[in-house]
Amino acid sequence: MFERFTQDARVVVVRSQEEARELGHEHIGTEHVVLAMLLHGQGTAAEALTACGVTVEDLRRRAVEGNRTERDPLDPDALASLGIDLDEVRRATDAAFGPGALDQAGARPKTFGHIPFTSSAKKSMELALREAVHRKHKEIRDGHLLLGVIREGQSLGPRMLADAGVDLGMLRDEVLRRMSEAA
């Protein structure tokens, strides 16, 4: 399937795995695909997302929130028994590295090698293929990938965009408009 992807689309897929790994997540979800589009910064998907006012920082925060598990939380009581005041540590790291830095540092890469896609992410790519076929495009573009994410609609990628205030219908229109202009 990937041989029919444009260069931009391939970069987005590769980047989405890097992003999932960087955030310490164990699957590549639609949220990582969306982040990868913004990080790549080029192409229809990136332009449409930027035009709708989303930022990497905000979406990353939402992706981290949405994937938060309680596997390795910090244990304030146990640390206090050692004389470590976790609040003080947090104050210091917040001041030095930004608010929430200590919590974001909890997401570390725990797996090396290939990270699998979620079934939602796979479904969004099947839907992307359908979008391309429907428009009689020979290649699957990053724009189609974003259309596929929007159409999948249930997973964290589209949900976090909606939570960030994006009207998914308008985003879809932005993508379609830019794709027809580029064609």
Partner: protein, 72 residues
């Protein structure tokens, strides 16, 4: 760090449950601080070798653990 009661009691005390829990908590905190400080060092222009020296590990170990993440 504040001076709480029971300084270092838990991790070096005789109750294994409390002791292991304290060790685990410290390890998690250490891992997070290591990440923040490695990234901080890179932003200050430190090489992997310099970071490795300060952490007391090999350059390869630091690189393997952090190099892929450090793209921004």
């Amino acid at each position: 760090m504040s001076e709480g009661t029971g300084l270092a009691e838990a991790a070096s005390g005789r109750d294994p449950a409390a002791g292991l829990r304290a060790v685990r908590a410290m390890r998690e905190l250490t891992e997070r601080l290591e990440l923040l400080q490695v990234r901080n060092a890179r932003e200050h222009g430190w090489s992997w070798q310099e970071i490795a020296v300060f952490l007391g590990v090999s350059k390869q170990a630091v690189h393997k653990k952090y190099a892929r993440r450090d793209r921004r």
